[in-house]
């Protein structure tokens, strides 16, 4: 084990996998000479050279095509989007090509590619840079969607992603890049997809989240514990595949649930989670599933408005109180 930041854990995952498999390469804007916009790929150009750490022009369609086409003939590309907001440019290559080629070919083509980069909201980046759109990808058959909340998961899930034979949407959180944690240095350490983690055991209510939302739920649970309310906090880790078994098992015990996310609430991943909990555990629920999410507005710039648009632990606490009322 070593203490490192989320961002360093991601770099370690890529470095180990590139050392292990010569077919793995990284491409994206400023990943090489600049050393990575968020320094995730710092030092990798020097280590692996320009053939395997590929600086691209600001051309997201090109980046997505580069990675998808190379994956279709057997390489294992990692494509970095400077932020997931910019991936909107590449939506046709992502949705109509990467996600569908295996199905359209009747399984004759594999597409082992990882699309990764920072998502998440905050720091007054305003409407076009501050948003979270995981439900777009989770909605599309063919993608697996990964959103780690802790440094060890960042490493273990990214390694699993690189070894997967499918297109992976790997959404990091810019606000978590500096988060420190214990990370296994073992190069064989991986974290499987589709296995949620129970971050805190509780008996009164189940809080389900992923990425930075998990941290909101943990903070809320701390506050509520002082009042004698014991929250069970579940970190999904991957949205697709989705570990509903862990969620439903918990709800059967607590009889209450709140789902929390940073993305817009309307038609969101939380909507799906809520629907599935109602479908699968209706008789176990003592109250409707509560939902916490971002305000359904383009992210405003002004500090006070931005604060009002982004969910906090107080929103989770309020939702818990409503559910338990």
């Amino acid at each position: 084990m070593a203490t490192m930041r989320y961002q360093q854990a991601l770099r370690l995952a890529m470095t180990e996998e590139m050392e292990r498999d010569p077919n793995v390469f990284l491409c994206g804007e400023e990943v090489g000479q600049y050393q990575g916009t968020y320094r995730v790929s710092e030092g990798m150009l020097q280590k692996f050279g320009p053939k395997r750490v590929v600086d691209t022009p600001i051309s997201e369609i090109g980046i997505a095509g580069l990675a998808t086409g190379a994956a279709m003939v057997g390489l294992r590309p990692i494509a970095e989007f400077m932020t997931w907001s910019f991936a909107l440019e590449a939506m046709d290559q992502l949705v109509n090509h990467a996600a569908k080629i295996t199905y359209m070919s009747g399984g004759r083509i594999q597409c082992p590619v990882v699309f990764r980069g920072p998502a998440g909201v905050g720091t007054q980046l305003s409407a076009q840079h501050s948003q979270s759109m995981e439900s777009w990808y989770a909605h599309t058959p063919g993608f697996k969607v990964v959103m780690p909340a802790f440094p060890d998961d960042a490493k273990g899930l990214l390694k699993t992603a690189i070894r997967e034979n499918n297109p992976i949407i790997f959404m990091e959180h810019a606000g978590l890049y500096g988060l420190q944690g214990e990370v296994p240095e073992d190069p064989d350490f991986t974290v499987p997809f589709g296995v949620a983690a129970v971050r805190r055991v509780g008996t009164d209510i189940t809080l389900v989240s992923y990425s930075r939302g998990v941290h909101l739920c943990l903070k809320a649970a701390d506050v509520l514990a002082k009042e004698g309310i014991e929250c069970e906090v579940i970190d999904l880790r991957t949205l697709v595949p989705l570990d509903m078994e862990t969620v439903v098992t918990s709800v059967r015990k607590t009889h209450h649930a709140v789902v929390a996310q940073e993305e817009w609430k309307n038609v969101s991943f939380g909507s799906e989670l809520s629907a599935r909990i109602h479908e699968m555990a209706f008789d176990d629920l003592d109250a409707p599933v509560g939902r916490v999410g971002g305000a359904d507005v383009p992210m405003p710039y002004a500090k006070n408005l931005e604060r009002a648009a982004i969910p906090t632990e107080n929103d989770v606490i309020a939702a818990v109180r409503r559910a338990l009322a």
Binding site: I61, G62, G69, A71, Q93, Y103, R108, P141, G142
Partner: protein
């Protein structure tokens, strides 16, 4: 006396055999497309249907001369010809068009998504311009492996107005990737002529703007297509450089099944224009050329026609006798193992 439209000595028997083989391939493509049209109107084939009639030389002059396995071909939704040229059997093509389990994509792709990776064919593509960013990645992988292989990407004049095509061309020019661009300039993007869709109608100039050299070719002339592309590919294998060929060609029938060949000239082109292009038909011209040299005879044409008719009939019978994909395959292939 047969008229010859291409003045060029046939240098040896190998070339004669190759030309004859390309001629036969063009005939197979033409007859298969005709049969497919009939089957669509018998409601045996669904979805969209885009025929290649008139453009056969673009595949017959290039694809048979690739090194497969190793080289790769990417195409558009007008992709039946590319699959056949890569070596996909008429049976697998017809079965896919009829949505059968024995189709080249197991019935999950259809007309626009024929695919046959083992034969170097990475598929058609339903999105205008879609295959060009993919060719960037395939080209990158080929250069990465350094085996001297090339990726041939077919796309149309309409695709040249898609942003992603230019992003990919810029990057292919930047990284110097072994991608051969075959621009099928058939003059119309659906019903919109080249002149009505761009202020710069010389597509080679656009390639050059991305640092990619290229030239114009008469795409109705099998020998020219074969010569120019063959030369380009030979050089690409050594230099690992991209190259761009603007192929002047024409589709005789409508854009797709909704733009039927019986009505195609009513809104965006004239009957006279179609007739003039038909006079330059690659099958007729190649046939005349080969007949003038004694390589092709009326008897041989008759033999080819009979063989191909049997092949097409066999493909139809095979497809019609094949089972539909099992219902429990609905959720298969969303993900790879």
């Amino acid at each position: 006396m047969a008229k010859t439209t291409v003045e060029r000595p046939v240098e040896d028997d190998i070339q004669s055999k190759e030309l004859l083989s390309s001629y036969r391939l063009m005939l197979l493509i033409r007859r298969l497309e005709e049969s497919v049209y009939r089957k669509f109107h018998e409601a045996k084939i669904g979805g969209y249907l885009h025929r290649y009639d008139g453009m056969e030389a673009l595949v017959a002059g290039i694809i048979p001369f690739l090194q497969i396995p190793g080289d790769y071909v990417l195409s558009t939704y007008r992709d039946h010809a590319h699959a056949l040229a890569c070596g996909t059997s008429p049976r697998a093509v017809m079965a896919e068009l009829m949505g059968r389990a024995t189709g080249c994509a197991g019935g999950k792709g259809g007309s626009m998504h024929l695919i046959d990776p083992e034969n170097g064919f990475l598929g058609g593509d339903g999105i205008v311009g879609g295959p060009v960013p993919i060719s960037l990645g395939v080209g990158y992988a080929l250069k990465y492996r350094g085996n001297g292989n090339v990726c041939v990407v077919y796309f149309g004049d309409g695709a040249m107005n898609q942003g992603g095509v230019h992003e990919a061309m810029n990057m292919i020019g930047l990284y110097r990737l072994p991608v051969l661009f075959i621009l099928e300039n058939n003059k119309y993007a659906m019903g919109t002529s080249v002149e009505r869709s761009t202020g710069q109608t010389d597509f080679v100039l656009k390639a050059k703007a991305h640092g990619i050299d290229g030239e114009h070719v008469d795409g109705m002339d099998l020998l020219k297509v074969r010569d120019v592309a063959g030369r380009a590919i030979k050089k690409m294998r050594e230099t690992c450089e991209p190259y761009f060929l603007e192929m002047s060609c024409y589709r005789y029938v409508g854009h797709g099944i909704g733009d039927d060949n019986t009505k195609a000239w009513t809104t965006y082109r004239t009957e006279d224009e179609v007739a003039q292009w038909r006079e330059r038909d690659p099958l007729l011209r190649t046939g005349d050329y080969l007949e003038a040299r004694g390589i092709l005879t009326p008897e041989l044409i008759e033999k080819f026609e009979a063989e191909i008719a049997a092949e097409v009939e066999d493909a139809i019978e095979f497809a019609e006798a094949s089972a539909e994909p099992p219902l429990d395959s609905l959720y298969e292939n969303v993900y790879s193992k």
